[in-house]
């Protein structure tokens, strides 16, 4: 059978799975705001905290725990000395910080009045407690160096590694464990993704983009059973999906794929013409989510409506059964995450305990057996998915996404910083000398011209790092695959970097 031949022909790529940094790491934001400082008697420090916290409760959504509440004279940053020490020479004085959001001045002065040090010049001409405005960082420091810098220049700051990392990057143990888990087979799944991509392109239905979705739980069961993953790696694939952007019939006419009667790639692949690009729901990653959703609906009253149209490779994998789950003598343990809800939600009981051995089960659990979106699945894709697909990935609750670094796209949503290029080929630098920025800008606005310089486009791309952004409710682990010896040049088929070719959305 042809599909099995393709599977046998998969040559695993050799290389390293590398975590994609988060934008919190690569583009750290420094935000500052005004705060008040007042001098109070050191003996009153505890009372001052009590009074202030009672009057102005702290907002847990804006934690300011990295800012010290008090600074002694010796700990004041030098730039604040002229402002504060002239009025407060007493060694009995300690300085209290009132962090943003700033309270009403009159009320604050009233509260602080009983606690000032008398020898100080602590009152203004109107007899009110003097408040000094200082600038403070509103986000916790990301490292000791930043904390020290702020402490020297602005206000004493505490660095708490745990608090800082939580909003900056995934838990490091989880990230490392997942990377180690993915590393051994990633080259094979990516090589298959490339085969899926070739199928999509060669049949004229889409561009050369392919995705392979793997269930890490099946991988674990194969490994736990001491089975040979070398020969059984394909058993953990739950779905594959190729790009199909040319396959849709619009306005009742023939699709771009149907209009292409010749063999090989669709001529539309040679350029970017928005009218022929279909839409993101026809991209490989979105189609993978759609195919998995279709299987999750098995058993629904209208399970067969919206059945996706499948290629031979897609059909083959969707029909495969899970050979790791059907042995009743050795039922695999109920995964912990389903146990918690199983008493009151019968639907959450997984299939392994209830299905007879003679009935092979799909690798994609239907919703009646607890299957939900693409929860905890990993996707391998040969191109960096577009921003739209990356958010689709999060909304689908994938666990992780892996793509080869040579497959970066100017339209991509995962990379968080430019790739390090080992050899200096100053293509873009030379191009920059020739054109003024203004020219670039006007050219950018005229999208009908197709004479863009792809290298320049790569210079302009944005680095969204969408897989793990603190603002978004859902997050995934993102990895780039860097092939040994290639150092960022040449993809699976020796075609060079995708960013240097025609720009489109993968």
């Amino acid at each position: 059978m042809k599909v099995q031949e393709i599977l046998r022909g998969v040559q695993a790529l050799v290389g390293e799975v590398t975590p994609i940094k988060t934008v919190q790491e690569t583009q750290p934001v420094e935000e500052y705001d005004d705060a008040y400082v007042a001098g109070v008697n050191v003996k009153n420090a505890a009372k001052v905290v009590k009074v202030l916290d009672a009057a102005f409760p702290r907002d847990p959504a804006r934690p300011m725990n990295h800012l010290r509440r008090f600074a002694k004279q010796a700990n004041l940053p030098h730039p604040l000395h002229p402002l504060l020490l002239a009025d407060h020479p007493s060694a009995q004085t300690i300085f209290v910080l009132i962090s943003p959001p700033l309270p009403d001045v009159g009320r604050l002065q009233e509260l602080l009045a009983p606690f000032v040090s008398n020898p100080d010049n602590a009152q203004d001409p109107a007899g009110q407690v003097k408040l000094y405005t200082v600038k403070v960082p509103t986000l916790p420091p990301l490292g000791t160096a930043q904390a020290e810098k702020w402490s020297k220049e602005l206000w004493p700051v505490v660095y708490n590694p745990a608090a800082a990392r939580g909003t900056v990057s995934p838990n490091i143990q989880v990230l490392n464990r997942t990377r180690e888990f993915i590393q051994p087979d990633a080259g094979r799944y990516l090589a298959l993704a490339h085969k899926v991509a070739e199928e999509a392109e060669q049949c004229g239905r889409g561009r050369k983009v392919g995705a392979v979705v793997v269930d890490p739980e099946i991988v674990s069961r194969i490994l736990d059973a001491d089975e040979d993953i070398e020969s059984r790696w394909a058993d953990a694939i739950v779905a594959v999906a190729g790009d199909a952007r040319y396959s849709r019939r619009e306005a009742g006419g023939l699709s771009t794929a149907e209009l292409h009667t010749g063999v090989g790639p669709n001529p539309a692949t040679e350029a970017y013409n928005a009218d022929l690009e279909g839409g993101p729901e026809l991209h490989a990653l979105m189609r993978a989510a759609e195919i998995i959703a279709y299987k999750r609906r098995a058993g629904d009253p209208e399970a067969e409506t919206d059945k996706p149209s499948l290629s031979p490779l897609e059909t083959y994998f969707l029909a495969q059964t899970d050979s790791t789950e059907s042995d009743p003598q050795d039922p695999s343990p109920v995964p912990e995450k389903y146990q918690k809800t199983s008493h009151d939600h019968a639907q959450a009981i997984p299939i392994s305990t209830s299905v007879p051995a003679d009935k092979p089960t799909s690798r994609i659990r239907p919703r009646s057996q607890g299957g939900y979106l693409c929860t905890d699945l990993d996707v391998y894709i040969n191109r960096e998915p577009c921003v739209c697909c990356c958010m689709g990935l999060l909304l689908s609750r994938f666990r992780a996404v892996v793509f080869p670094q040579t497959g970066r796209m100017v339209t991509g949503g995962l990379a968080s910083e430019p790739a390090v290029r080992p050899v200096s080929v100053p293509v873009s630098a030379a191009a920059e000398d020739e054109h003024e920025y203004e020219n670039e800008h006007s050219k950018r606005q005229n999208k009908d011209t197709h004479d863009q310089d792809y290298a320049e486009e790569a210079e302009q791309r944005l680095y969204y790092g969408l897989h793990w952004r603190k603002e978004l409710n859902w997050r995934a682990l993102g990895f780039e695959f860097i092939r040994d010896g290639e150092c960022g040049f040449g993809d699976e088929s020796g075609e060079g970097r995708a960013e240097d070719r025609v720009a489109f959305y993968a």
Binding site: R248, E250, A251, G252, G253, Y272, A274, D275, E277, G278, G279, P280, E281, M286, A289, E290, A293, R296, R297, D306, K337, Y338, K340, T341, H345, A348, R367, G370, G371, Y372, L373, C374, T375, C386, V387, C388, C389, M391, G392, L395, S396, R397, V410, T411, G413, R444, Q445, K447, E457, Q460, R461, L462, Y464, L466, R469, E471, L472, N473, F504, Y505
Partner: protein, 183 residues
């Protein structure tokens, strides 16, 4: 800020009817319509729960319907009216579809892609930017979402109990609901 026209108001009302329909069928209450030459050419409501596909947002459903009768190029002369600011995914998709302009009800502080979290309508991309106007019937949009999120999601693997939640009917920063603000 400018006053919405009666036509804009009408199209947003139609989007709200779709959102209400979504709420009635257990979907996240987001609805939209696509308008081409003053005619509604596509209706959409969230369909993620029924389809088991987290990407089936109202915008995609409406576009899919429209493309049965129109070519993709018609989106260049089409406006979207949606009850909630498009999410990052939909904002990026609308760029690829080269939508003419987007009108939305309330902002989306968790996932919004046209100003709240990201600004995909105006960021660098290989398709032209599109203008976005928010605030049309903002409070109605917020109330619909609140009515939805007060329910439990029994489809999730670990539903969170929400028995003691009360429907919040207050609004802050109320700027009226008949005004449009460019994002």
């Amino acid at each position: 800020m400018e006053q919405a026209t009666p036509e804009q108001y009408y199209f947003m009302e139609q989007a709200f009817e779709m959102a209400q329909k979504a709420l009635d069928t257990g979907e996240t209450p987001v609805g939209c319509v696509l308008v081409n030459e003053n005619k509604i050419v596509g209706y959409g409501m969230n369909d993620t729960n029924r389809s088991m596909n987290g990407t089936r947002h109202a915008e995609f459903i409406a576009i899919q319907e429209m493309l049965r009768s129109y070519p993709k190029s018609a989106l260049r002369s089409t406006d979207l009216y949606v009850t909630v600011e498009p999410c990052v995914m939909c904002a990026a998709a609308l760029r690829q579809y080269q939508i003419r302009s987007v009108y939305f009800g309330c902002g989306n502080e968790r996932f919004g892609g046209t100003g709240s979290i990201l600004s995909l309508h105006s960021d660098f991309a290989i398709d032209p930017p599109y203008p976005v106007y928010g605030g049309l019937q903002r409070n109605e949009a917020i109330m619909l979402l609140r009515r939805f999120y007060i329910q439990e999601n029994e489809k999730a693997p670990k539903p969170r109990p929400k028995k003691h939640r009360e429907l919040n009917t207050r609004f802050d920063g109320d700027s009226g609901s008949a005004n449009l603000m460019a994002e």
